[in-house]
Symmetry: C2
Subunit: 104 residues, 2 copies
């Protein structure tokens, strides 16, 4: 069945909104919507899955491998399993829409 990436997204939420798009044994696709949220101070993601992430709308700063990357619409990034990273910032007063593909 055909579905739409932006349907439905509220304008604002106190937490990030994570929606499953696809789940299989080898891959998981999620839509993640941030409303200005960032990773808590001192928190680092260190995932056992690899993650490919596409920023679709909004903006974000991701820190990893000693680099800070600014992402805007259309930018994508591959984060291999075990790469410590954190979201320093997402757009304030706007939605940041991510497409994330987790794989092994």
């Amino acid at each position: 069945m055909k579905k739409h990436l932006f349907d439905p997204i509220p304008e604002s939420m106190p937490q990030e909104l994570v929606t499953d798009i696809l789940r299989s044994e080898s891959v998981r696709i999620e839509r993640i919507v941030s409303f200005g949220q960032a990773s808590p101070d001192g928190f680092w993601y260190d995932q056992s899955e690899s993650e490919w992430v596409l920023l679709r709308e909004g903006s974000a700063q991701i820190r990893g491998n000693d680099r800070l990357r600014e992402l805007g619409p259309g930018d994508y990034l591959n984060i291999p399993a075990g790469t410590r990273h954190r979201v320093e910032k997402t757009a304030e007063n706007a939605r940041t829409v991510w497409l994330a593909v987790f794989y092994k």
Copy 2:
């Protein structure tokens, strides 16, 4: 390294442009750009991999499971392995940009 989904895309090409974005054992992500191309008459895709496809720009008609689906920007579709399908049409005089995730 950060990269951009739309970079670079020519304005027109005689064939579809397929660009590898990611390859791993379990998943393959491609950007596919169509410039009005469709599947040849009588041709059906019948893939051993499953495919999740997101239309990012342009428009298309996909036929499968006895249904014709119109896709516009933001629409996505999951095509399980072994599902016969074909692209009836993509936008003429415009680019149609797909993100395709192939998985097992």
